[in-house]
Structures are given as structure tokens and as C-alpha cells.
Amino acid sequence: MTAPDSTVDYDPAGHYDRVTEAWLLLMGDELHYGLFETGAEPLSVATAELTGRMIEAAGLRPGGPSDTAERLRVLDVGCGSGAPACMLATEFNVDVVGITTSRVGVRAARARAADLGVTEVSFEQRDGTDNGFADGEFDLVWVLESSHLMRDRQALVAECARVLRPGGRVVLCDLLRRREIPFVEVRERRADFATLRTAFGDAHMESLEFYATAAEAEGLTVERVDDLTTATLPTFDRWRANAEEHRDAVTALIGADGLDAFVLSCDILEDFWRDGTFGYGLISATKPG
């Protein structure tokens, strides 16, 4: 077996700091999975479709309220490079606060907002499991593909529920664990799991049932639970194609080993998607008024 490499930082913030620029080339501008209807769509269309599914679950409407006093306040937990936050502020006339533990992510998100001239967004370095905001500050909490990088998912859900105003809604989509993985299987497949850790950081997946139960435990009413595993499967083909297309640029950013680990991870995850080990899902819940 390959011994764990202590020279590499698997902590999510450190990992994101190291890989963000390369991931923009590999995963596209939105830095998340795509939702494919036919499987033939470009990645950018599919990632927009996934964002659209989140918007639909959030109940946002184009244009939104025009009166500034009525503008919704949105918390984007794990805001990546700020693309969804800027889009939400622009298209839905809402104020967005994006948080991430990654210093590089905050910098990239602020630069994006400045480039786009979007002023209704702000980005801060904060932890989603202990965000420090006041109770009931937000109308919507948006958690797009970041929860798998947080060790304490119960604390994440608790914090989301706490900062929601009564009647507010949380929407979350992420990678999922679709079955229990016995220790003996983790041991047998440890090389695969270690490759995933090298490529994607110290991730831990939970089931949709876990998130639903956690939300209910925090007093939220679960509205929607969608398993999107099949529709996200073509994402890995697109990521591999991007790796080939941007080989030189990505190698310059994360090295040949980093690129190889990413491509191998696409193969491993695709197998896990197909054999029912991992997948993708979305959940939404409201705080009773």
C-alpha cells in the first residue's frame, strides 16, 4: 500500500487553497457537478441546470423583490469561487453573503464580484459549522456541494437552521453515501479512497436520510428529497475531457501527480456511482413560521 503522505494538506481549506485555480479548468466555472438531462449537454449547461434545480427548490423567482427593504438575505455556505452568489444577486435581486474556510476562495469570489460589478454580495472566511451570524438573519441558506468537506454535518444543519428566520428555507445538494461501507471494504479499497482524498481533500459523505433526519432534529420541515445520482453521472466524462484539454495548464498548477490523481478519481467515482456506493442528492427544508 502507499503510505499516507503527511506533506499534503488534506484539510478542506488548505486543499481548496491549493487546487481552486486548477479546478476552475477541470470542473468549469461553477466548480460543481452537472445535472444532465440527455447526457449530451456541455458541462456548462449541466452545471447551470444543477444550479437551476437548487433555485427551484429555494423558491426563488427571476427579478425578485425590487424594493431594497424587501430584498431577501441569502447565506451561501461554502461559496466556492462565488459564481452562484453573483448569479443569485444579479438574477434574483437578493443580497448574498458567501462564506468559505478557504482564503483563496474568498479572494477569488471577491475578484469575481468586482469583475462583474456585482455589489449585492460579500464574501467572508467563516466556518459553516460555526458561522457566527445572529439567529434568524437569513431568508435562505444555500449549501451547494460543500457539506461533504465538513466533519460535523449535524453542526452544519444546526447552524443553517439557527440563522434562518421563521418561514425561511435551506437548500442543500451534495455528494452522498448511498449505502453503509463496512470496514473490511474500506480496507480493501483503501487505495481508491486514498486517491480520492488526494484529489478532492478530506471528504466524508452522508446519506440523504441523514440530512433529512438532521433537519427534522433541528425543527425544520423537510419539503423535498431528490436522488440525482443518475443525472450527475456524465459529469465525470466532462471532467476527464477538460483534463485532457487543459493538461499543460493544470499540470503547471497542481503538478502531473495532481492531474493524474484527478483523472483516476473520475474513474473511481464513476465506478462508485454505478455500483451504488456514492451518488448525488438534493434536500430542502423550511423553518416553521
Binding site: 500500500m1 499516507p4 503527511s6 470496514f183 480496507r187 486514498a194
Partner: protein, 83 residues
């Protein structure tokens, strides 16, 4: 004759150090998982494989998962050393 406890402890400590999991207050009775060292399932699997590679067998492949270094040492206390 059983495998030397000092050798086992050295293997475990070396693993924890290499993976940045070694705590200043680490003690043989400290839990290896949550609320202790904090090993996750992959790290535990890696420790299991390292112990097997270096000592021929490992306690994590038995029916009872060890919870502490003391449990690991107790397992090896019952294992005869290789000739």
C-alpha cells in the same frame, strides 16, 4: 513469546506522526477515533494495513475493533511472534 509492545507502539506512533494525527497528550488509553485521536475509517484502514505489513497480523481484522492503543497492545500480547 509475543510481539514486543514497544515495537507495536512505535508503529502506531510513527503512523500517527506521519499522518499529522499525533497529539501531544496522546496516551495508550486515548480513544483512536472521535473525541480522541480522530482517525476516520480510511485512516483506520491504513493503520490496519501498516500493522499487518510490519507485524504479520492486525487487530482491526478481528471481530472486535480496538478502541485504544491499549486494545491494540492487548491483541498482540496474545499473538505468538514469528520464528
Amino acid at each position: 513469546m509475543s510481539i514486543s509492545p514497544a515495537d507495536i507502539e512505535q508503529t502506531v506512533v510513527a503512523f500517527l506522526t506521519r499522518t499529522n494525527k499525533m497529539r501531544i497528550d496522546f496516551a495508550p488509553d486515548m480513544p483512536l477515533y472521535a473525541d480522541g485521536v480522530g482517525l476516520d475509517s480510511l485512516e483506520t484502514a491504513e493503520l490496519s494495513a501498516v500493522l499487518e505489513d510490519e507485524h504479520g497480523t492486525d487487530p482491526f481484522s478481528t471481530s472486535t475493533m480496538p478502541q485504544t492503543l491499549n486494545d491494540i497492545l492487548a491483541f498482540y500480547d496474545t499473538v505468538p511472534a514469528e520464528a
